[in-house]
């Protein structure tokens, strides 16, 4: 695979953020640190659905489900292509 799910996710965050990030890691808190705004959750959910090929059950979502890239990978993209 040319680009892993994780790489696509990183690229998405870098594309959507309006804050200047010096070092985005997979443990950077995306919303707490203002990398993404809460209004962008919708775009993030749709993007994760697209790359994971699975619809996310939004009613069962916990607030921390999109905490950082590691958490998103674990919650929604596991058993797909890793790393």
């Amino acid at each position: 695979m040319s680009e892993s799910t994780r790489e696509k996710l990183r690229a998405f965050v870098l594309e959507k953020t309006e804050s200047a990030i010096a070092d985005l890691t997979d443990q950077t808190h995306l919303f707490e640190n203002g990398i993404l705004k809460s209004i962008q959750v919708m775009d993030l959910i749709l993007f994760v659905e697209e790359i994971s090929g699975q619809e996310i059950d939004v009613e069962g979502l916990k607030p921390g489900a999109f905490k950082d890239i590691d958490t998103i990978m674990k919650n929604f993209c596991e058993n797909r292509d890793e790393k």
């Binding site: 959750v41 919708m42 775009d43 749709l46």
Partner: protein, 296 residues
């Protein structure tokens, strides 16, 4: 009202009085009002073709009439779902503001507002449940954050206004469209009939809240409020491009369709036209001075 901080609420007071009277005189029973056939004749339009999110793109050109009508049905379900979720949030917010001292003057109207939105959800919800697999889930979220005085209230009513102003253009156009299935046409008519009042209230109340609170906000808060409204308008529009709608309508690669449609000049032109009055209101009243430059 509010002489203490020198805000002229005369226009709002009149509006509240008039709207309460009109709401009482035009009380609508959504249960009696609409006919709900056991099954829908699907060989017709449920959304005006010109309002369908991919209209004007080459993908639209490739679809035959029956595929377009199928898409028009799921776009209607998508549109009604957007209404349901907007109204759900609205009802929550209105309920918590009833009889709050700073909303004393508008509370009589908030009762009607609340009541009418619940009735709207009844018919939007019934359509989605009876003829499709229920409303599409909402994917828009807002986290709890800290606000300056008046900011949360202002944003609540300003976002409602954004949501209702956009919806109403769709309703107004479709309420007159004889190509639509009679039930879809009637739902749009009914909704517009009551929303017209919500819009007058929304505009007056947003103006008063802006005058009441914004002079005391810091530059940072002003900037944040303006950005929030701008991104809310963008997110509101992006909800109209729903991959689940495209998937149910049988279109291949629904996520790519969404991206294509959002980026297409024809759909940007539609968003620009539909948002024009709203953006003008925001800039004329100094709320978002450069509203016309907001990315849609």
């Amino acid at each position: 009202m509010n002489e203490a901080n020198n805000i002229n609420t005369e226009a709002l007071d009149h509006t509240v009085e008039r709207l309460c009277r009109v709401s009482e005189e035009n009380y609508i029973d959504p249960f009696a009002r609409l006919d709900w056939p056991e099954e829908l004749d699907r060989d017709t339009w449920f959304t005006s073709p010109e309002l369908i999110s991919i209209e004007g793109t080459s993908l639209w050109d490739e679809l035959d009439e029956s595929q377009r009508k199928t898409l028009s049905f799921y776009e209607a379900v998508g549109f009604y779902s957007i209404n349901i979720h907007g109204e759900r949030r609205l009802i929550e917010g209105l309920a918590s503001r009833l009889y709050r001292k700073d909303h004393d003057g508008v509370t009589p109207y908030l009762h009607h507002f609340l009541d009418e939105e619940n009735k709207h959800m009844v018919y939007f919800g019934r359509f989605c449940t009876r003829y499709a697999n229920g409303p599409y889930p909402e994917k828009k979220f807002a986290f709890v954050q800290e606000y300056e005085k008046g900011e949360e209230d202002f944003l609540f009513f300003a976002e409602i206004m954004v949501f209702e102003e956009i919806v109403d253009i769709f309703n107004r156009k479709q309420a007159k469209d004889d190509r639509l299935h009679p039930l879809a046409k009637e739902i749009n008519w009914l909704h517009h009939f009551e929303e017209a009042r919500h819009l007058s209230f929304g505009r007056e109340f947003v103006k008063v809240l802006w005058q009441r609170y914004s002079p005391n906000w810091t530059d940072d808060t002003l900037k944040r409020v303006r950005e929030t409204i701008g991104s809310f308008i963008g997110a509101t529009w992006r909800e109209y491009y729903n991959p689940s709608v495209y998937k149910d309508a049988g279109l291949a690669d629904p996520f790519a369709v969404r991206k294509m449609a959002l980026a297409h000049p024809a759909s940007l032109a539609r968003r620009t036209e539909i948002s024009a009055a709203l953006l003008k209101f925001l800039s004329t009243n100094g709320i978002v001075p450069n509203a016309k430059e907001l990315p849609l």
